[in-house]
Structures are given as C-alpha cells and as structure tokens.
C-alpha cells in the first residue's frame, strides 16, 4: 500500500511538464486530426474531398518536386563537401571550421536567408546589375528567384550543410584499411567505390536524402518571404487556408492539408526506419 501511495506522489513531479505538452503539443495535434474530419454538421470527409482542388493538387506536386530536387541536389553537393572534409586531417582547423559553419548554416533559414539571396542575386543586386550590363540578363524570361526555381536554389543553402552534418559520421566510419585491402586484393579505385565504399555509404546517403526531403517539405518561412503571390507549395497553401477569408469559412480545410503534410513526413520517416534496419545487421 505504501508503495502505491509513494508512486502516485512521485507522478505529481511530472505533472507540470505533462500538462504543458498536453495543452500545447497534443491538443493542437488533436485539433488538427479531429478538425480534418469535422464540419458543422458532424463527421465528414468533405475536407479531404476539397484537397482535389487543382491548386492544392499542384501545390502538393510542386512541394514534392521541390523537396526531391533540393534533397538530391543538397545530398550530392553535401556529400562532395563531406568527402572533402573527411579526407583531410581529422583534427585540422579546416575540418573544425567547416563543421562549425555547417552547424550554424544548417539552421540559417527563413526570412533572413530569403533576403540574403535577394540582396545577392535579386533584381536590385550588384551581381545582377553587373551581369545585365554585360548582356547576361539572367532574369530575361522573368525573375525566377521569386519562383519555385528560386526556392530550389535558396533551399540548397541549408540543405547542403545539413547533409554534411548527418552524412559526415558515416563517411568517417569508412576505414582506410578497406581501401588498402581492396587494392591488395587486386581492385582499383572503381572497384573500391563500386563494391566497398559505395554499398557501405549507400544506406546512409539515402537516409540522409530522406531527412533532407522531409526538411525541405516542412520549410515555410523561406518560401513565404521569397514568394509574394499565390501558394505554389503546400506549406504556403496551409498558411493561406489559416489566414485568408476563404479559409475561415472552411476551418477543416487547413487541417486536412496539414494531415497530408504529416502523412508525407510519416511515410518518409517509415522509409528511413526501414533503411536503418537494413544496415543495422552489419553495424554495431
């Protein structure tokens, strides 16, 4: 009996935290999920039916394409940078500098990042002025920076450093003895990458790419600051649905879109977990 009483008293210690997350983490989540299936008349699927509106469908497709492009681009470029770091002195200043910079840059995003690119290559930038004076008007067919193509470029700014941070441990795990063993067994550089380093790094590379995909899919602030009109991607559509007149008449609509976003992120997480499990058998 005493044990039971002690236990219940102990639980009180966790109440402030649990109460807070219940109110501000679980309640909003519940509001989304419940709200997505609710209308004034009761349970409904009409919010999901509304997702078939062409602008939503195209926003989802655009979001997936944008995320795929920046995930693959960020992964490839990030992997190259990772390799450049990993082949250097493991305790060198170069490596320390680059990994620290990546830690900061991977988190650098949103409004300020959008403005940085507008200042760097936007229509009023020194770079653009110089190029257009030299007959290299890269906005001749429209200012693509404020467009999906602009997002693709700008997202790379945080995708590449993020790739370095999550891929570097895998590359560090590659032992120089494996290359030497390959060589002494008769294999060259191609064989080494094809049969040893490639298969060893592939799961980590794919997994990192998935994380980058989810990262890009969830990003909102950068796109909101860069793109003034319309909502070419899902996060912007969600925002429109929360704040616009139309959205207020359809409170379930934003929630249904949010559920779509959660589902895509969940699918990516599952794929990631599957990948992790596959490599677990030959990793400690």
């Amino acid at each position: 009996m005493m044990g039971g009483r002690r236990l219940s008293l102990d639980w009180i210690g966790a109440v402030p935290f649990l109460g807070y997350v219940a109110l501000f983490l679980f309640l909003p989540t519940a509001i989304i999920v419940a709200g997505a299936f609710a209308s004034e008349g009761g349970p409904t699927l009409v919010n999901f039916a509304n997702l078939s509106r062409p602008y939503i469908v195209s926003a989802v497709i655009n979001s997936v394409i944008l995320s795929a492009v920046t995930a693959v681009g960020g992964a490839v470029l990030g992997a190259i940078l990772t390799y450049a770091i990993a082949t250097g002195n493991p305790r060198g200043t170069f490596r320390r500098m680059v990994t620290s910079a990546c830690g900061v840059l991977a988190q650098f995003g949103g409004v300020i990042l959008a403005f940085a690119f507008i200042a760097a290559i936007g229509p009023a930038s020194a770079v653009y002025v110089y190029f257009s004076q030299h007959h290299l008007d890269y906005y001749a067919s429209g200012v693509w920076l404020y467009d999906l193509r602009g997002l693709e470029l700008v997202y790379l700014y945080f995708q590449i450093p993020l790739m370095v941070l999550i891929f570097l441990p895998a590359v560090d795990g590659i032992k120089p003895q494996w290359r030497e063993a390959t060589e002494s067994l008769g294999g060259g550089t191609w064989t080494y990458w094809r049969y040893v380093a490639g298969p060893l790094l592939a799961p980590a590379f794919l997994g990192s790419t998935l994380l980058l995909f989810a990262n890009s899919l969830s990003a909102y602030a950068t796109a909101a600051a860069l793109i003034n009109q319309g909502g070419p991607i899902l996060p912007l559509q969600i925002s429109n649905a929360i704040t616009s007149e139309v959205g207020l008449h359809e409170p379930g609509f934003a929630k249904a879109q949010a559920v779509v976003l959660i589902v895509i992120v969940a699918i990516v997480s599952v794929l990631y977990a599957v990948l992790q499990r596959r490599t677990a058998r030959w990793l400690q």
């Binding site: 032992k175 003895q177 494996w178 030497e180 063993a181 390959t182 060589e183 002494s184 067994l185 008769g186 294999g187 060259g188 064989t191 049969y195 040893v196 298969p199 060893l200 058998r281 030959w282 990793l283 400690q284």
Partner: protein
C-alpha cells in the same frame, strides 16, 4: 590468371627489397633498407614504433611509393606497380574486413576481382575458411565474429587469391593475450601449409621470436640485425638489439686488452676491436647464476635476493648488489632455494658479451 580452386601447397617465391629509401618531409622512415626473403620463408621485422618496419611492408605491398630502391618479387621488378597489380595478400592490424559482406563474401572478394565465376569463388572461399578453421562461420558478418575470428577471415581472404607474398601488419596487436598466442601459432601453421613467402611486422619480440624463420630487428629506418630467432636472442649484434630483444642487465665494467672486466669477472667481447676504457656490459639474465651456499663473504658479486618472479618453468630473481641490482633467470626449482632475503653469490657465464659505451636510454618494449 587460371582459377584453380584446390589448395595445393606450392613453393613461394623469393622477394628482394633493394636499397629502399623513404622520407616523410624531414623524417627518414627507411634508410637504404635491403632485405631478401627466401622462397617460403617467414621473416619478422621487429622494432619499436617509428622504426620503419611498417613503411617497409607498405612499400612491398605497393601502398606507398619509395623515394629510391627496388622491390623484386619472384624475379620481377614491381617497384613501379600499384598495389592491385602486385599479387600480394595482406592482413591488417584490425577492422579490415568489409562490414557489409559476410565472411565468405569477404574471402571471395579478391577472386571476384580476378574474374573467378560465382560458384568457384564461393567453393574456394569456403575451402579457405576451412583452412583457418572457420568453415562454420561463413555466413557471419564481421560484427558477429570475435577479434581473433575476424583476423582469421582476413588471413583466409589474403590467401584466397594465391598471392606471391603474404604481408602481416601487426595482425595480432589488437587482440588479447590468450587469443594472440593461439592465433600466432595458427598463422604459422597455415603459412607452412601454403608455403608462402611471408613478411610479418610486429613490435612484440616474443611474437617475432616465436613465429619467424628469421627476425630482422629494425631501428631508425635500417635493419640492425637479421638472423634466426635463437641467434638474435643469444648473440645480439648491437647494443640496440640486445636491449630490445629480451631482458638485459647493464653492468658497468672496464675494457682492457680485448676483454671486459665486470666486478672481478673477465668476459670475452663480441666486438673484438673495442677500445680500452670504461663500458657497460650487456649480460642476459640467463647468463647469471646464483649460489646460496659456500663463501658468502662480502665481494663484488655477493648480494641479497630482493624479489623472485615466478614465470612458470623459469623464475626471475632480482639481486641487490648494493650499488646496482642484477636480474638472474633460472629454472624455478633452482630459484626455490633462494627466496627473498637470502644472501647469494652471483656467477657470470663467460659467454662473449656486447658492450655499450654511453648511457643509452632504456628501450621500451
């Protein structure tokens, strides 16, 4: 290359390292190193870290380029060839198994590089695993094998390609003591069975002496002495060898007319042309015997036993002579007569001894 799969023993080939030079910046790793390994011979290169032994092995493997000199394997000059064209099998210190392949796939990897068909290479891989006693572990990943088992798979992998040379780069040093001596004997058995010329690099003198046909003791980029283990141990050619291989007493004495006089005993010299004057005689503990009976009156070789270390069949006795302590090694039965505290008289066996002139820093084993 033909891909026969049987494990017929075959004679190894001769390997010559000729006047090899290697510098890293200002550091000379190899200084005019020459070494010939007879066909089928196992030579151990022994030395402290940084002595150049690993560099020598890597030059032979083709993993590093020499600044000068030649590498000749079986009469063919391979100095300019990259590692993957040299036909050498190599076992590394540790972690060299490919972690994403199971044991037999690791062993079959080199055969795959040589375009051996899938069925043949699996068959041969299993045979090689059998050779190292791991046939039952063919489907395990490296993480599922112990350190010793991993090294055996690495040995099988190196031998599967029927290399002309087997290179062992401190293959035992990441293992614990018990596994180490078992695997050492196992490596020797397999090497003799296959008959392959082998270079074994280690910093552990016991390992080198136990396994090798000949031991080369290296110091500062060159070989100080090369010879059979017994000779290297009993007749060290230089003070460095004497101190690096086995335990040695450093006894102050005086060189006079071709002999060195140590505490009243005259010992013949290895270095016959040594100039007269004060010197340190290097005397093995085995060359020191003790007697606890007879005349124990004060004398230069009379002292007190202060410790007896039981080593199994032999024991090592530490004797305090007042100004210095001397180690003596003898059968345990003989040592039993003089426990700590006993007054004893030492006798130095009149074998030829090496002398060292200056107070060289003690070598770490």
């Amino acid at each position: 290359m033909t891909a026969s799969v049987e494990t017929t023993p075959r004679a190894g080939v001769e390997i010559r390292l000729e006047n090899l030079q290697r510098r890293y910046g200002a550091v000379t790793a190899l200084n005019d190193l020459s070494l010939t390994l007879a066909a089928g011979e196992l030579v151990a290169l022994l030395g402290p870290s940084g002595c150049g032994k690993t560099t020598a092995l890597r030059l032979l493997a083709g993993l590093e380029e020499a600044d000068g000199g030649r590498v000749v394997i079986g009469g063919q000059d391979v100095t300019g060839l990259p590692a993957n064209k040299r036909d050498v099998g190599m076992v590394f210190q540790s972690y060299s198994l490919f972690p994403h392949m199971v044991a037999w796939e690791n062993v079959a990897f080199g055969l795959q590089m040589r375009k051996v068909g899938p069925a043949d290479r699996k068959k041969r891989a299993i045979e090689m695993l059998d050779l190292v006693g791991l046939a039952g572990f063919a489907d395990r990943y490296a993480v599922q094998l112990s350190g010793g088992q991993q090294q055996r798979v690495a040995l099988a992998r190196a031998l599967a390609i029927r290399p002309k040379v087997l290179l062992l780069d401190e293959p035992l040093s990441a293992l614990d003591a018990k596994v180490r001596s078992r695997l050492r004997d196992e490596i020797r058995r397999v090497q003799l069975e296959v008959g392959i010329t082998t270079l074994f690099v280690t910093h552990d003198q016991e390992e080198a002496l136990a396994i090798a046909d000949r031991v080369g003791v290296m110091n500062a980029g060159h070989i100080e002495q090369l010879g059979p283990p017994t000779l290297v141990y009993t007749r060290p050619a230089t003070p460095f060898v004497a101190e690096f291989v086995g335990l040695t007493n450093r006894l102050p004495g005086t060189v006079k007319r071709g002999v060195v006089e140590v505490r009243g005993t005259e010992l013949p010299l290895v270095q016959a042309d040594a100039a007269d004057g004060p010197a340190i005689a290097l005397v093995r503990p085995e060359a020191v015997s003790i007697a606890s009976d007879g005349d124990l009156a004060a004398g230069p070789l009379v002292g007190t036993v202060i410790a007896v270390a039981f080593l199994g069949a032999t024991s090592r006795v530490t004797v305090d002579l007042g100004d210095i302590t001397v180690l003596a090694q003898m059968p345990t039965s003989a040592a039993a007569a003089s426990p700590a505290g006993t007054r004893v008289r030492l006798t130095l066996r009149t074998d030829p001894v090496l002398i060292a002139r200056e107070e060289t820093a003690a070598v770490e084993h």
